[in-house]
Amino acid sequence: MFNKNSNKFLWIFLAILIIAVTLIFTSESTKKERTFRNELVSIDTSKVSQISIYPKSLKGEEVRILKVDNIWKVNSDFGKQFTVPKIKVENLLNQLLLVKPQRVAARSKDKWKEYQIDSASTRIEIKEGSEKVLDLMIGKFAFQQPRSMSTFVKLASDIDIYEVEGFLDMIFNKTSNDFRDETIIKSERQKWNKLKFESANSDSSYELVKVNNSWFVNGIKTDSTKTENTLNSIERLTNSNFVNKEKAAFPKLTSKLTIEVENQNPITIFAYQDSINYIIESSMNIENYFDGKTFGNKIFFKKETLF
């Protein structure tokens, strides 16, 4: 057993075994628990600098969201850029990170049309600096088990179509308006001390003042429930009916509301009104103007509603 050649032979045999085990384990690592893509989206959200969406509703027109000096801006169809609230971009990117393939739905170009992965799709491109890190096409959706939906997607550089969870069209098929800041009033009502209503018609001007947690108009105490309800309805107010006009083209200023907030800058709401227009401007969102036809009177409520 222990002759001269036995160790030589054993060394050779051991070497062959080591090579075999290494090769086998290397190939085994590729045969894991899954034989199709585990992920479609691999982005570092902190490095993303540009999001381009080509929503199917705009038939290929680009909605570009750019990071400029750490602030997200979206282009608009009339050439102006608007700030995008950070939370909207974060939500968008987080939704993208959730896009995980559940299955391979098709593997040929012939099927692209069937799954609406063509000109009818919504396309998303993500850039980190100048590098394009994602180019995703979103096709048709399908109803799954009770209360759930799925969407068919494809990477632009790939042929395979994957089914992923969720109704992605609702998240990504959006216009630039959907990314603009919709805030009109966003404040804590408990910190409000005074609401000063000024109107071109001096009869409508009044002040609602808080004294010892009770509200008064011209020294008369208001109905506490009615006042609470009215203030509740405007403490968080958003709207997406933007008015895309320059301020110079606005009608004359007709009303102004100043909300004095404890330890904070006052909130000022302006109303510009004529027989056709009712435009609202807020000091909390100076970039955007809103069409106030449906909610203007809610902000500029009459003092009679408080009694």
Binding site: M1, F2, S6, N7, L10, W11, F13, L14, L17, I18, A20, V21, I24, E28, K31, E33, R34, T35, F36, Q102, R103, V104, A105, A106, R107, K111, A142, Q145, P146, D160, E163
Partner: protein, 507 residues
């Protein structure tokens, strides 16, 4: 000269080699499939199904982890099978494994997908506890899904997977009609048969009236166990159906056993007369076979009344099958109260094939008949052999259209029944009927796969008890004896060599 260092090196190398071989053997094992039906190799049916797969199929396998080794093996076997499927389908079969026990949301998703949990016993720290485990898969192709709620080990795994794929990839399912209106069992009484047919066919009932013929979309019509007389109009419809190329399966009870008064009775449906014009005659007799099932009979044993199984030759177990796609892989089918079939060849262009026949010890009994349960059957009662009970016919049977027909002289072999009378059928009973429908419908894809699997191969009932005992012991003693013999021979050989070396004249 041997040094201590050299011995240590040798021992180290030996241990390292043993460890590496162990590591390799845990991953790979070599095996040769020596089984008669190649049950551990992919069948041609599976290969065909995968070859024709033109869209990707995703298999989401919901398998629990950290299970006892015997159950864990099912997971590995299924994975190996999927790798094989993936390779055979040019990558069109893709898969993933998910552990539903990891996350409640995933578990809910598995259940919504139709995967049923099972409870298994797990030994942990000298305690046996019950654990919920998942061993299922969801197949998805295009926009269709097919769950496999529970994956069974062995050949059943391949059948479950391949039939699931076949079901999903079938573009348009052919329609199989079931004739109703003459006392035939309803579709609800054919549970097991429908489960198998559902893979490939759409089932529909057919009721004939003066104004309703057999619909044109029905390619195969199945007539199972009618009890009422068939009106002449319906036979004309059947003639027309055959003459337009329709395929017909007849499972006819020409006689039946009445256990209430222990007599055999004639079932006059008119089919016997109608079939004779196509050269097939189902006789008005009862097949009796030494190879048979039993009935439970109450007997007094001292103070007790006990149910004793008594062999009942009127319930023949058919195990003689001729080579034919319909009978491929079948082992035994129970044909209760069957009759003999005879064939008269009128036209040589028509091909008659006897599919199944009785054993070498069988006979026929004619009416009137009284069942004597206590009768001691002897070899003198089984003087006949190979009595046909199923035939297949193909050719221009009716007018000039090519068609096919299968006739069974028993109508009950694939009927589960309903209510409290419902019974579980042996797999081959259902397989025979499904295979026949497949053959008639020109789709023999799953036949090979359906009958592939581990089936019981009991010793021939006719063998003497002593022979049975001999075969039983020889089965496990011969391999052990062979190993002992080899060891003994090797020992003797080595001893002889040692003696030669020790001998004084050895140089």
């Amino acid at each position: 000269m041997l040094t201590k260092r050299k011995i240590q090196t040798t021992l180290f190398l030996a241990v390292a080699i043993i460890i590496l071989i162990n590591v390799l053997s845990s991953r790979y094992s070599f095996r040769i499939d020596l089984t008669e039906d190649q049950r551990y190799s992919l069948s041609d049916a599976t290969k065909d199904i995968l070859k024709n797969l033109d869209e990707p199929l995703t298999v989401t396998s919901y398998f629990s982890e950290d299970l006892p080794p015997d159950i864990e093996k099912v997971r590995q076997d299924f994975k190996d099978l999927l790798i094989e499927y993936s390779n055979r389908s040019n990558g069109n079969v893709v898969y993933e494994f998910i552990n539903p026990n990891e996350d409640q949301e995933v578990e809910m998703k598995a259940q919504q997908a139709g995967i049923s949990p099972i409870m298994i016993n797990v030994r942990d720290k000298d305690q046996v506890k019950q654990q919920k485990a998942y061993l299922g898969a969801l197949l998805q192709l295009g926009e269709n899904k097919e769950p496999i709620p529970f994956i069974q080990p062995g050949a059943a795994m391949e059948y479950a997977l391949s039939s699931g794929i076949k079901k999903l990839s079938a573009k348009e399912k052919p329609v199989v009609g079931f004739l109703q209106g003459h006392g035939e069992p309803s579709l609800d009484q054919l549970i097991q048969l429908r489960q198998q047919l559902n893979v490939m066919y759409e089932e529909r009932t057919v009721t004939l009236t003066d104004s309703t013929n057999i619909p044109f979309e029905i390619k195969t019509l199945v007539v199972i166990a009618p009890t009422d007389s068939i009106v002449e109009r319906d036979f004309i419809f059947l003639d027309e159906f055959l003459s337009r190329g329709g395929r017909l399966l007849l499972a006819i009870n020409n006689v039946k056993g009445n256990f209430q008064n222990a007599t055999g009775e004639l079932v006059n449906t008119g089919f016997s007369k109608w079939l004779s014009k196509y050269g097939i005659t189902i006789a008005d007799n009862f097949l009796v076979d030494a190879k048979c099932s039993s009935v439970m009979v109450q007997q007094n044993q001292g103070m007790f009344r006990m149910n004793i199984p008594v062999s009942f030759p009127y319930l023949p177990i058919i195990s003689k099958f001729n080579e034919h796609p319909i009978t491929k892989g079948l082992e035994a089918v129970l044909f209760p109260f069957a009759s003999s079939i005879t064939v008269t060849q009128k036209d040589t262009s028509i091909k008659f094939t006897t599919l199944a026949s009785s054993s070498d010890k069988s006979s026929l009994e004619t009416l009137p008949l009284f069942f004597d349960i206590q009768k001691q059957w002897g070899s003198q009662d089984f003087g006949m052999s190979n009595i046909p009970v199923a035939v297949a016919v193909e050719g221009k049977i009716a007018r000039n259209s090519y068609t096919k027909m299968v006739v069974f002289s028993d109508g009950d072999f694939a009927v589960n029944g309903e209510g409290q009378q419902a019974q579980q059928l042996q797999p081959d009973n259902v397989n025979l009927m499904t295979n026949a429908i497949d053959w008639l419908s020109d789709d023999t894809g799953l036949i090979e796969l359906r009958t592939k699997g581990v089936t019981a191969r009991p010793l021939d009932a006719q063998l003497e008890d002593s022979t049975k005992t001999l075969v039983k012991y020889a089965n496990f003693l011969i391999p052990i004896g062979a190993i002992i013999l080899f060891g003994f021979a090797r020992f003797q050989y080595k001893k002889k060599i040692r003696n030669i070396i020790k001998s004084t004249d050895y140089v």
